[in-house]
């Protein structure tokens, strides 16, 4: 019987958050600490001709200047910490100045003269693809991958910049909502027979769409502080991940990972932008080393807008064929991604969403990712999938309507199940129960009852929507590490970062469950490298629950094996004669014959070898090896790599139902009801599950209705660098109550049954809201994300100014 999984608990860092006692990177000071500030580009595109820092360097208190020359060169298309010859977006850091006070550093920045040559710029990918269109980089306008894509958040490897132009006819066709014939793509895949699929269709829907990227806006900016002692770098950073940073950050600092202590107790938001070490970490660490002083590089709110990453945008086209029975027979999808200055888009992930949400019998995807002179882009909560969910939902509704089918029934007939597939390669999934989620959601929301109600009430009109969110949610092959101390307590060493999802704590419950240790007798060690932390995945992609319940489970199993071996050695019999319970290992046939965990841990220390960490498995990662070495002789060590057999991607899937009231006089939307049902396997931590569902719904509202980059197309200047103008949803923009539930059917490939759900919570809400807006307006498809109030008002006034031509990054 489960003792920990599926029960509420308070993660140990929560009290520190409500008292303000928990420390974020910027809260740390160090004796002798100095301060660095960035000088950033005022131009969207240009060449740095000269830098004159003479006057700044003469100022009292100024300690030095740090430029790209002080860092290893980053070849395009990499994202350098500091620009070298070319600048490619407003806000791009060019240099850093260090001084004994932050005020002096800031004043010194004002004294530095930088001469630029202006270059042409572009903020709309389709303009760059047009004949004669400007290129964001001197080398070209398109990111072309020459190797397999790495995990989300990792630096781009194996890629080059090319100059690709489309015939004007292709640009015009896409802007008009037609297939961009003659356009060149850099990614393409097909499965099945597309023509045959469309030939079978009873109805075909064809629509263009545009989604606009927007910043992550992590509330804690990426301020870092670093200092060096005895050859080691102590680095206070703000990251979603912990151990996953070790190797990359050590490379940035040109040191052995063993000489890095990365300290990150709490992180004020990341949402994909802080999965791995970000380029600007290189400045703090290397500048501190050069000055031989603790150094803090503060990133301001405005700078966080510039360098804190953003969601990629899309301009695209879709043709969907549907059979009379509702089955999607064919989909043809084109995505032009806005990759900003980093170039990478999420088109393939967008296409992956399409495959999971509707399981098309035949499909083609063609994509290209175009550089623009806008901020760097990176993974943002369900990258690709969630924005696709938002624009696809009303299009799917239109397809359902074309064959006279209920919108939920349409999704139900196309729903993925455990035998289904994901992505262009049609890979398997570990399990999926979306029909069950739709059925549960319909009941909870009252889909049938709400559909029977009157739609119009004066100027206000009700709309109902349904949406599906999806993200691949789990990885394999990482390590777990636990220790039973001579005090009998269970110490769970977690290399998982603390990005606010509490998955670091939820996953530790798997070890407590396996070893049957009460939670109050467990302690989690995390948050700094010298707490001896194992090799863990990056905390992105909704993966942690699946990935690290498994690692903690296998580490606990290793500890159990060792407990039984020690008992057999000391008390006679064979290890398999023993079992565990009540923090003891004892003979199954004679429960009084046994050892307490404390006694067994003391014996492990005496016995040494594998029992206390002097020896460890060959297949664990070097990071874990170092952690075990640091713990050797301090207790009974359980350490193992996750070699649990299995195949397929663990999907996180959510269905959302939304009821809104749309005021036709003002365009304002009020969310009356939102219901979300998750297919995430067993719910590991119910209270936290509920909160993840709510938070994701807020993000969904932002994606579907509010958030977007706005650039001045005449000058390439960003117009909404602040939170107020960017409009992340506030208390008053969202519903005050979310109904929720979970199918709660265990995933067969996880000992605890769990899968992740963080990202689809946004996609489902965005899709359901977009679907509801369309429903309120008699099925009008805006084909935009966000669909803002001005777009709604313009539509109601018969003006398509807001939405035509697939314009992006502007009003």
């Amino acid at each position: 019987m489960s003792t920990h999984i599926g029960f509420d608990f308070t993660p140990p860092d929560v009290p520190g958050k409500v008292t303000g006692e928990i420390k974020y990177a910027e809260d740390y000071k160090r004796e002798g600490m100095v301060f660095a500030r960035l000088l950033t580009s005022p131009l969207p595109s240009g060449r740095v001709v000269g830098i004159d820092a003479t006057e700044a360097l003469r100022m009292d208190g100024v300690l030095g200047i740090f430029t790209a020359d002080d860092l290893p060169p980053v070849a395009p298309p990499g994202n350098p910490a500091l620009a070298s010859e070319y600048v490619s977006f407003v806000g791009q850091p060019i240099l850093a100045v260090a001084a004994i006070t932050e005020e002096i550093a800031e004043s010194a920045i004002e004294k530095i003269r930088v001469d630029f040559e202006r270059r042409p710029f572009v903020v709309d990918p389709l303009e760059s693809l047009s004949p004669g269109g400007a290129n964001a980089y001197p080398e070209g306008n398109t990111l072309v991958r020459t190797q397999e894509e790495g995990p989300e958040g990792t630096p781009i490897r194996g890629a080059e910049i090319r100059d690709i132009k489309w015939p004007q006819s292709a640009i015009d066709a896409l802007r008009a909502g037609k297939e961009p014939a003659g356009g060149e793509f850099t990614t393409e895949w097909t499965f099945g027979d597309l023509d045959a699929g469309f030939a079978e269709a009873a109805a075909i829907v064809e629509e263009p769409f545009v989604t606009i990227g927007y910043p992550h806006h992590s509330l804690e900016s990426r301020t870092c502080m670093a200092y060096w002692e005895n050859g080691k770098c102590y680095f206070h950073g703000s990251s979603q991940s912990q151990s996953a940073n070790d190797n990359g950050l050590a490379r940035m600092l040109d040191i052995d990972p063993a000489d890095l202590v990365f300290i990150n107790e709490a992180t004020g938001g990341g949402f994909g932008s802080k999965i791995g070490p970000y380029p600007y970490m290189a400045i703090s660490g290397n500048f501190a080393k050069r000055l031989n002083r603790p150094l803090q590089l503060r990133i301001t709110r405005e700078q966080e807008f510039y360098i804190g990453s953003a969601r990629s945008g899309m301009q695209g086209w879709i043709r969907m064929g549907v059979k009379a029975n509702g089955k999607v027979s064919a989909i043809d999808l084109v995505v032009v991604n806005d990759g900003g200055m980093t170039g990478a888009g999420s088109g393939n992930s967008s296409a992956q969403h399409v495959t999971v949400a509707y399981q098309p019998e035949n499909m083609r995807f063609r994509g290209i990712s175009v550089y623009t002179n806008t901020t760097p882009r990176g993974a943002q909560r369900g990258p690709g999938q969630n924005e696709m969910a938002a624009v696809l939902a009303p299009i799917a509704d239109k397809a359902a309507k074309a064959i006279g089918m209920d919108r939920v029934a349409f999704r139900r007939i196309n729903a993925i199940d455990s035998g289904g597939f994901q992505g262009g390669g049609q890979g398997p999934v570990t399990s999926a129960f979306v029909r069950e989620a739709l059925d549960q959601g319909m009941r909870t929301f009252g889909w049938a009852e709400k559909n029977a109600l009157a739609k119009q009430n004066g100027s206000k009109v009700r709309g109902l929507g349904v949406g599906i969110g999806y993200h691949g949610a789990g990885g394999r092959g990482y390590d777990g590490l636990v220790r039973i101390g001579p005090d009998g307590k269970l110490y769970i060493h977690s290399g998982v970062g603390n990005l606010g999802t509490y998955s670091y704590a939820g996953t530790c419950r798997a070890a407590a469950e396996a070893l049957q240790v009460p939670w109050e007798r467990c302690e989690i060690l995390r948050g700094r490298t010298d707490n001896h932390l194992p090799h863990s995945s990056g905390q992105g992609g909704s993966n942690t629950i699946f990935t690290h319940t498994r690692t903690n489970w296998v580490a606990a199993q290793d500890a159990i094996t060792k407990l039984k071996e020690i008992a057999a050695q000391d008390l006679g019999g064979a290890p398999e004669d023993y079992t565990i319970g009540d923090e003891r290992v004892f003979a199954s046939a004679e429960p009084a014959r046994g050892l307490t965990y404390a006694q067994a841990a003391a014996r492990a220390i005496e016995l040494g070898g594998k029992f206390s960490g002097e020896e460890y498995p060959d297949d664990i990662n070097p990071i874990t090896q170092r952690a075990v070495q640091g713990l050797a002789g301090s207790g009974l060590i359980g350490v193992a790599k996750d070699n649990i057999p299995g195949e397929g991607q663990p999907p996180g899937i959510l269905v959302g139902f939304c009821e809104i009231e749309l005021d036709k006089d003002t365009g304002k939307i009020e969310i009356l009801d939102y219901t979300a049902i998750a297919d995430c396997g067993t719910v590991v931590h119910p209270k936290n599950f509920e909160n993840a569902m709510r938070g994701g719904a807020v993000w969904g509202v932002g994606l579907a209705a509010f958030e977007r980059h706005v650039y001045d197309p005449q000058n390439g200047l960003p117009a909404n660098t602040g939170l107020y103008q960017s409009k992340p949803p506030t208390y008053l923009d969202v519903n005050v109550e979310t109904k929720m539930g979970a199918v709660n059917i265990p995933d067969p490939q996880n000992p605890t049954g769990g899968r992740g759900i963080g990202e689809p919570t946004q996609g489902a809400a965005a899709a359901a809201l977009a679907s509801a807006i369309s429903d309120a307006l008699d099925g009008h498809v805006f084909n935009t994300a966000p669909t803002t109030t001005d777009m709604i008002i313009n539509h109601l006034a018969g003006n398509d100014y807001s939405t035509k031509y697939l314009k992006t990054n502007t009003f």
Binding site: D8, V14, E21, E26, E103, E302, N688, R694
Partner: protein, 195 residues
């Protein structure tokens, strides 16, 4: 609006002090120790969390900076430093204020309560803090101190708010994680409306 220190007064204070803001990106609103101070006394007494603190503060410095960098009260967070997010919310004479938008010299005669002063002297957490823990309300936690301060002020004025009233009262506090409903549930729990 019941703000005792308004944004306008803050801006006027900066202008009269003779300082010029460096840029929109500036952390210190030209709070340069070398800048002219119009003859104002820099060493001032502040009442923070019931204690009198003598502190050397330039006339252009904000309360958020004084709390964090002179008094080491780092529970008050700076999320935007321009009055948009509410992470730096403190109570001044019981009224929620953005500490990033208040000049320290303007609150010399006032009582400031920061997050560090919310729990009782014996360490007992305030009902809002207890409720936020019970609701697992914080996610990343960076906005949480400000949310606590706004909730404490709300319940002092309206002991049993509805969820909608609470949302209105706390709408000056942005939460990028979207933990709004958790905080609202915390307010209802702290006010005894849910158990």
């Amino acid at each position: 609006m019941n703000l005792q220190l308004t944004r306008r007064r803050f801006i006027k204070g900066v202008i009269f002090s003779g300082a010029a803001a460096t840029s929109g990106a500036g952390v210190y609103l030209a709070a340069n120790a070398q800048s002219g101070n119009g003859g104002m006394e820099r060493l001032i007494s502040l009442t923070i969390n019931g204690r009198t603190r003598r502190v050397d503060v330039p006339p252009t410095e904000t309360l958020a900076n004084t709390l964090r960098y002179r008094l080491n009260l780092t529970g008050t967070k700076i999320g935007c430093n321009r009055g948009e997010c509410g992470a730096c919310t403190v109570l001044i004479d019981g009224v929620p204020n953005y500490a990033c938008s208040v000049l320290t010299h303007n609150i010399k005669a006032k009582q400031v309560l920061s997050i560090e002063g919310v729990k009782a002297d014996d360490g007992t957490l305030h009902a809002v803090q207890q409720a936020f823990i019970a609701e697992n309300a914080p996610q990343c936690g960076f906005c949480t101190p400000g949310q606590v301060m706004s909730a404490v002020a709300l319940l002092a004025n309206n002991p049993r708010p509805t969820k909608a009233e609470a949302a209105q009262a706390m709408s000056g506090n942005l939460c990028r994680c979207g933990a709004y409903e958790h905080y609202l549930n915390g307010v209802l729990r702290a006010s005894g409306q849910i158990a």
